[in-house]
């Protein structure tokens, strides 16, 4: 598709969406709901998208995407409210924002901090969209050359890297979480021969576990249990005045914004790693490169801009592998994948062939969502803060009821509810033992893809593993997987440092400096 026709599709999608008052209301409403979800500690963007998926069942694809993407963008931004006003991050993605946002609020500049986060989030999202629209067709074109060998390795890489980077304790726990997800995905009839695996003669398990109730269970129930068990309560709310975008500060931070956007997009594009890591990495990079790094942590606008630009830029990045390879870039994107499949859309390289306009339509919707987020942020901040004053013991039971309704409504099957509770309690214990939940979820989603492609590949090669070593992309992926695995082996680290030292690349001891 040439640039002119892309622009015409983009323009016509924008016009058609904007011409419908229902769509506009939905856009503003979903974005506002997203901000609330992000702002309320204990609720996340993933859970918001999961619950909303149920409500979009009867909508057409574009309307459903307005609601889902509106909520996603809003929730990632919304986490900054409690970070700035009460020093408790609404989502993990906004944790880095609290470091400078709260001190700024203590100085009586809460409105300024919120203005900066709102506009930085808008710029971050738009940068992410720009890279998405440029890179996605290129990635998809490349992915069209992929065969079962590459898809199997890609799924494996996604789970492995997600497990490696999201584990808060031992790396092996991240891998175990991913493997558990893959194990869960094998329940039900296998995709090639329809042989019942681990169904124990229960007809409800024949189709395997439904993804949405599993995701709601994995993300929703543990959060409710954790928040109420640990009596997580909100601190005293800081006052804030008018919210202004403060363009001059943003202009001064243009380098910071560009770097943070790139970090966010890059991290978002890596399968399974979310906005939280993007926020921290970007904050760290801003601090390291700043000429006045000692002011970080005392209310430095640079810090707020860095983390908020990056976590929202992550959205565009996370959508690149989702739309082109069918591999979610972040936990909310994993939920979005479930929602798209529910609407009959299977993301992957074929999407540019089957529906060439889809990518541009998503881009147009994302642009509208980011603008809606900015409008909501600028004009409805006081209303969001009012919602923040609802005590957790009141809103979390309501969220639990929504989890029950959401899990039931998709398949109208009570068995889904049983599974949701079971998965929720197991996920809670895993979380308490420092197992990351994202790799588990990515494993559940990518399991069927890995299984099917491994067996197809083996079928083509008649049981030979050689094609894995004969195809260039395959070799590259294998190398990356081996390197990721080796990087966590202490003996490899020692060997690497000895070799580097012998080659003259060893680090000079700081003691002597």
């Amino acid at each position: 598709m040439d640039i002119l026709s892309s622009f015409s599709v983009f323009g016509s999608t924008l016009l058609s969406l904007l011409s419908s008052p229902t769509n506009l209301l939905l856009l503003i409403g979903a974005s506002f709901a997203g901000i609330i979800f992000g702002a309320l500690p204990g609720l996340t963007a993933t859970l918001g998208v999961a619950l909303l998926t149920t409500l979009t069942y009867g909508m057409d694809v574009n309307t459903a995407l307005i609601a889902l993407l509106g909520l996603y963008v809003g929730a990632i931004y919304g986490g900054s409210y409690p970070s700035i006003l009460i020093n408790i991050p609404g989502t993990a993605a906004a944790a880095a924002t609290a470091l400078d946002g709260y001190p700024l609020a203590l100085k009586g500049q809460g409105g300024r901090a919120l203005g900066l986060t709102t506009t930085a989030s808008l710029i971050g999202t738009l940068m992410g969209i720009l890279v998405l629209v440029v890179a996605a067709p290129w990635v998809a074109k490349m992915a069209l050359q992929f065969t079962s060998f590459e898809f199997f390795l890609l799924a494996l890489f996604g789970i492995l890297i997600s497990g490696t980077l999201t584990s808060p304790d031992l790396v092996i726990k991240g891998w175990i979480a991913g493997l558990l997800g893959l194990a869960v995905s094998t329940i039900g009839r296998d995709p090639l021969q329809f042989f019942p695996r681990f169904t124990f003669d229960m007809p409800d398990l024949d189709q395997g576990l439904e993804v949405v109730p599993v995701l709601i269970g994995a993300f929703g129930i543990p959060q409710v249990i954790r928040a109420l068990r640990n009596k997580e309560s909100l601190g005293a709310m800081q006052e804030f005045g008018r919210i202004l975008p403060e363009w001059s500060t943003l202009f001064k931070n243009r380098k910071n914004i560009t770097r943070s956007s790139m970090i966010g997009i890059g991290i978002g594009a890596v399968p399974g790693i979310g906005e939280d890591i993007a926020g921290w990495v970007s904050y760290g990079a801003a601090k390291n490169t700043s000429t006045h790094s000692e002011t970080f942590g005392t209310g430095e606008p640079e810090g707020i801009i860095a983390s908020e630009t990056a976590n929202n830029a992550c959205i565009g990045g996370a959508l690149i592998p989702l739309l082109t390879l069918g591999i979610p870039g972040s936990p909310p994107a994993a939920m979005l994948l479930g929602a798209l499949m529910l609407h009959g859309i299977t993301p992957g390289p074929m999407i540019v062939v089957e529906d060439p306009d889809f990518l541009i339509e998503v881009t147009a919707i994302l642009v509208l969502c980011s603008i809606a987020m900015w409008i909501n942020g600028m004009f409805l901040a006081k209303q969001v803060v009012k919602v923040l004053s609802i005590p957790a013991p009141i809103f979390l039971p309501v969220v639990t009821l929504m989890c029950i309704l959401g899990s039931y409504a998709l398949g109208l099957n009570i068995f889904n509810l049983y599974m949701m509770v079971l998965v929720g309690v197991i996920a809670y214990f895993l979380g308490e033992m420092q197992y990351p939940i994202s790799p588990l979820v990515i494993g559940v989603i990518l399991g069927p893809m890995a299984d099917e492609n491994l067996r197809r590949a083996m079928m083509v090669s008649e049981g030979s593993l050689m094609p894995f070593l004969e195809r260039p992309v395959s070799i590259l992926l294998l190398l990356v997987i081996v390197l990721v695995l080796l990087s966590k082996v202490p003996q490899y680290q020692t060997l690497k440092s000895i070799i580097l030292k012998k080659l003259g690349f060893g680090r000079t001891s700081k003691k002597g400096a």
């Binding site: 031992l170 296998d190 090639l192 042989f195 068990r229 005590p391 009141i394």
Partner: protein
């Protein structure tokens, strides 16, 4: 992380790794019962297209990871034998059991058999009241009451599999029980000086139920898990109003 917390974590890792080793071994054993190189449904299998291939691969790696975790945790525990483990307070465990009981009771006991509006109201009311009041006494009483009622409902559903008429009687019985719960819990609120929490709880539960049920059932046309004396009447009322509107 404090040394005591790390010790507790590694002790938990030891237990988890044993569970993982058992689980993955069982998975491998079960996978070997799948068609490997024989024929299934008229299709002759080769090992590399067998439905057992992927589960065996995953379970084998899981087994290796389980063993690695076991060794790592064991080495740590032996090395730091003198360090005590951090323990959660009994109050915290009490809250945990109450939470699991509330959610599991609602899903396994109430939702499959009781009209959803009634089940949602009583669930929300007790859930909000127990945590909003923040009283250990109230939480203990609610844990006992809710668990008993949920088990009773689960047994009724499993043993008697009540028909439509019996369910209607059950719903009326539940209405009576809800009235009693609200009345009794007011006394608990008086005992523990948590009257404000009690008032907010029933008001919030009522408002959410009144909004959520019509939105899902009438707005989004999602049938609710169990439709009894409240939901059915609500649906009937909708059609009656619609007919009246159309002048039928």
């Amino acid at each position: 992380m404090q040394p005591e917390q790390l010790m507790a974590l590694r002790r938990a890792d030891l237990k988890t790794s044993i569970v993982l080793i058992i689980l993955s071994t069982l998975m491998i054993i079960e996978s070997f019962s799948f068609p490997l190189s024989d024929s299934y449904a008229g299709v002759t299998n080769a090992w590399y297209v067998s439905p057992a291939l992927f589960p065996i691969l995953i379970a084998s790696i899981l087994l290796i990871c389980g063993i690695a975790l076991f060794v790592k945790a064991l080495v740590f525990v032996k090395k730091n034998a003198g360090t005590a483990s951090a323990k959660e307070s009994s109050e915290s465990w009490g809250r945990f059991f109450l939470l699991v009981s509330l959610i599991a009771g609602q899903v396994y006991g109430w939702v499959p058999i009781v009209d959803f509006a009634l089940a949602a109201f009583v669930f929300l009311f007790l859930f909000i009241f127990s945590f909003y009041s923040d009283s250990v006494l109230v939480q203990k009483k609610i844990l006992f009451l809710w668990t008993s009622l949920s088990i009773a409902l689960l047994l009724i559903a499993q043993v008697f599999s009540p028909g439509e008429e019996a369910r209607m009687f059950l719903d009326w019985g539940v209405v009576l029980v809800i009235g009693l719960i609200v009345f009794v819990s007011k006394n608990w609120a008086n005992q523990t000086q948590t009257q404000k929490a009690w008032r907010s709880s029933w008001k919030a539960a009522l408002v959410v139920t009144i909004i959520a049920c019509p939105v899902f059932r009438l707005g989004m046309l999602v049938p609710l898990p169990t439709e009894g004396i409240v939901i059915e009447k609500m649906v009937d009322a909708k059609y009656a109003i619609r007919d009246m509107w159309r002048g039928k």
